[in-house]
Amino acid sequence: MMTSYLFRTLDAKAGVFVALLLAVTLLVPVLNLAVPEGSFFHVPTYAVTLMGKYLTYALLALSVDLVWGYCGILSLGHGAFFALGGYAMGMYLMRQIGTRGVYGDPVLPDFMVFLNWKELPWYWYGFDMAWFAFLMVLVVPGVLAFVFGWFAFRSRVTGVYLSIITQALTYALLLAFFRNDMGFGGNNGLTDFKDILGFNVQEDTTRAGLFVASGLAVIVCFLICRFVTRSKLGKVLVAVRDAESRTRFLGYRVEHYKLFVWVLSAMMAGIAGALYVPQVGIINPGEFAPANSIEVVIWVAVGGRGTLVGAVLGAVLVNFSKTWFTAALPDVWLFALGALFVVVTLFLPKGIIGTIGERYTALRDRRASARREAGVDAEPQPQPAE
């Protein structure tokens, strides 16, 4: 039954997208590891890591698209869930360092020794076990989203008010994680990782493995999103997006639907953060900055909100140009990003994928009607103006 559902979920366009993503996921590591250096087709390791980072961003964008594109919740605080997932992973990686730290303490991470802490805080317990840490990657953002969402949706905080308090949420976490006595490394965050699941994080093979994991995570989460939005529940979500009061009057418990999709999205963001951290090698409170969360929204807007494919595409595109701009023309990047926000909202409200889809549908309808007309009577009709 599951497979049949999967097939129904996968129509032609989504199928092409998944196949493409799968091909990239498998091809890039092969080109990195199997093709000798110096060859035209060789992909250097730094590029693999960079693309792996883009993929985690794509996953984050996917999670934002799920709540914003399909449920109308504009979250300006998804970076918080991303960073929390990242911190959970970072804590696991810190515990894996063991005695190889600068101070060589078998239990305490370096920064705790530095701060003269005598024992591990209780919330660090269990993070030496991979299964527990990976569970926390889902649970911590999920619980925060549940508590926050339960309060917010129950009292019908909507629209810009919700956006602003999500921003306040991530801002509060930013301030909190900057404190040294929070026990998360303060300003410097967590870094100097050595091993993940017994593999050295600096190794080419580990990096390729992380890339594959990121690619697979994007594919799986894409399919989950697709499944959710195509289901009956997804239709209710869209109804909530377009007319929340009306949906409520029709008898749906709007807040339950919103809460479900909100928590799901937060968990996906957490996974993205967890995959991000071992690839960039650091997690610090800067990830909580409200500006980061807003940037995610523009990735989705560029690609096209409510399209899922667009979110992935937008994240990769914008981040690729960011990498290119900040290297080639560092002063121009913020102008370009700012202009992107303005231009996309003014002239491309549906994003790239949305606009292409719209044009395509319009073209197809026009052709179809032209054919119908041609079939009914021989005289060609003038094309309707666009």
């Binding site: 009292s155 308090i165 807003i294 909202t345």
Partner: protein, 547 residues
């Protein structure tokens, strides 16, 4: 019984040293032949035993000439030397390999010599005490009331019993009432450390308790632990009284800081409240309007520094209208070219204005550089004054006043002008207002301009207390949103109450939770508050439909 507190004593010495530096600095100006009469006395310091030196010091003090103070201070610090060649006495300070000589009476430079050409004039502890006492009396008997006041304050902090006699002489001659009060307290402080009778000491405790500040408290705490019997008990009661009043003053201080922070928040948020209230538009570039206002102040001050320095004290008054116009014009432009096309899509407006804020920040960064720019305080905004135990800085005070003026002015515009009437009509019911013939697009543009303009003049004020950098606005944007969301939309009183509440709550939480945790608690509090009243403290009443 004599007991000294090293901290207080060292304070006295620091003060006296500063005072001496002052007299040294003033020395050359006042250098005339009258000092020359003292020269034989000064030169004699180099000869004889310690007892002779003590007599010479007393003779110098008896001359009553303030210029003696620097010589004595140098003697005390071991900086007074005699030149072997001619037996003349100089103040010598190490300079390079040798010593730089200064004439003790005129302050004039007397060249450099090698170490072997001069001898140090030695002092012992007894001499040092004599010098300390005589320095106090030199300043306490000065003809300048501010010098007397400062000397009395120093004695009060130090509580040195050796100046008691001088102090009583000074007190008898004192004519200035302000100085007299401080001298009374200083006398009480000195008396407590002397060996006088208990009855006098009890009186002295009363006098000190009436001062009611922290110095009095530390003085009495020292006394309580060092004495027994009635004096200690009296000190104990006095301590409790002072502590009680100090706690009260602490609260007053917190309220004042809170109001000051609240005014800053009010200035930053009030423009936002207008645009959000009227148009339902979240302007993420609002902070950048504040930043532009601050940079206008910077530019105005630069021009004034270059071409008309005498105008500097009025620079803020010139900057205010300019900042309003510049920010307001940018605001109108933004409304006409961007926001106009996004009405009914508040979330998209949020994104577009965020993009705009990035562009404005980067533009300012390219024009003025990424570092902080120096914006000076005019004379009337620097300094501070005491109100009871509160220290109130002028710039904070003027910003509170300014915020209130802006608020009042805005209220006046909204309640008493036809533009205000139209604005309120559009806020309450856009379509009805349009049906009555109000040109709502026009009102939108003007309101946006007004909101941005007010952000600009907020920037002028903030330039006085904050770093002027391209990131200036970002620091305020989240706080301003919190104020608007907390206070409620479409009602300026809500913004006022919201800003002041958040300011005061923040400052009261800070001592217990620390600045950062206090801020987090406030944010959490607002997030919870929104649950209870999703439309803020002062929500507009009416049959408003959700957007």
């Amino acid at each position: 019984m004599i007991f000294r507190k090293p901290v207080a004593m060292s304070f006295l010495k620091t003060f006296l040293a500063l005072f001496c530096l002052l007299t040294v600095a003033m020395g050359p100006v006042r250098a005339d032949d009258s000092h020359e009469a003292l020269r034989p006395l000064v030169n004699e310091l180099a000869s004889g035993k310690y007892d002779d030196t003590e007599r010479q010091i007393q003779a110098l003090v008896a001359s009553g000439d303030p210029v003696v103070a620097s010589t004595l201070q140098a003697l005390r610090a071991g900086d007074l030397y005699v030149r072997k060649a001619d037996g003349l006495v100089f103040i010598a300070r190490k300079a390079g390999k040798g010593f730089a000589l200064t004439d003790p009476l005129t302050g004039a430079d007397a060249g450099e010599v090698a170490k072997r050409d001069i001898d140090k004039i030695k002092v012992n502890n007894k001499l040092r005490r004599v010098i300390d006492a005589s320095l106090g009396s030199l300043t306490l008997l000065s003809s300048d009331p501010t010098v007397r006041l400062a000397a009395a304050q120093a004695v009060f902090k130090a509580g040195d019993p050796e100046v008691l006699d001088v102090l009583e002489t000074a007190l008898a001659k004192e004519t200035d009432d302000d100085v007299r009060v401080v001298m009374e307290q200083a006398r009480a402080a000195a008396l407590l450390n002397s060996d006088r009778g208990d009855a006098e000491k009890l009186d002295a405790i009363e006098t000190i308790a009436s001062a009611g500040n922290r110095d009095a408290l530390s003085l009495l705490i020292g006394l309580r632990s060092a004495t027994q019997g009635p004096v200690s008990e009296a000190a104990d009661t006095a301590i409790r009284r002072i502590e009680k009043s100090l706690a009260l003053w602490d609260n007053a201080q917190n309220v004042w800081y809170g109001l000051s922070l609240g005014s800053v928040l009010l200035l930053a948020a009030i423009g936002l409240a207008i645009t959000f209230g009227v148009m339902g538009v979240i302007n993420m570039a609002h902070g950048e309007m504040v930043m532009i206002g601050a940079y206008v102040t910077f530019v105005v001050q630069e021009i004034i520094r270059g071409s008309a320095p005498w105008l500097f004290d009025y620079s803020l008054f010139i900057a205010l209208p300019l900042a309003f116009l510049v920010s307001g014009a940018i605001g109108v432009g933004v409304e006409r070219f961007i926001i106009r096309f996004l009405y009914g899509r508040p979330l998209e407006t949020l994104l577009a204005t965020w993009g705009l804020s990035l562009i404005l920040q980067q533009a300012v960064r390219s024009l003025f550089g990424p570092t902080n720019r120096e914006v000076g305080n005019p004379a009337w905004m620097s300094g501070a004054f005491d109100l009871g135990q509160l220290t109130i800085t002028y710039n904070r005070m003027w910003i509170v006043v300014f915020a209130m003026l802006v608020f009042a002015g805005l209220m006046l515009v909204l309640k008493r002008t036809s533009f205000g009437l139209f604005t309120r009509a559009v806020t309450q019911n856009r379509r009805m207002a349009a049906s009555m013939g109000i040109r709502t697009p026009w009102i939108d543009a003007l309101t946006f301009g007004l909101g941005s303009g007010i952000a600009g003049i907020a920037g002028v004020a903030l330039s006085q207390i904050d770093n002027v950098s391209p990131n200036l606005g970002q620091g305020y944007i989240i706080d301003s949103f919190m104020v608007v969301v907390f206070g409620g939309v479409g009602n300026l009183w809500g913004t006022l109450v919201g800003a002041m509440t958040l300011g005061v709550v923040n400052k009261f939480l800070e001592p217990y939770a620390g600045a950062v945790l206090g801020k987090i608690l406030v944010l959490v509090f607002i997030i919870l508050f929104i649950q209870k009243r999703p439309r803020g403290l002062f929500a507009l009443k009416g049959r408003a439909v959700e957007a």
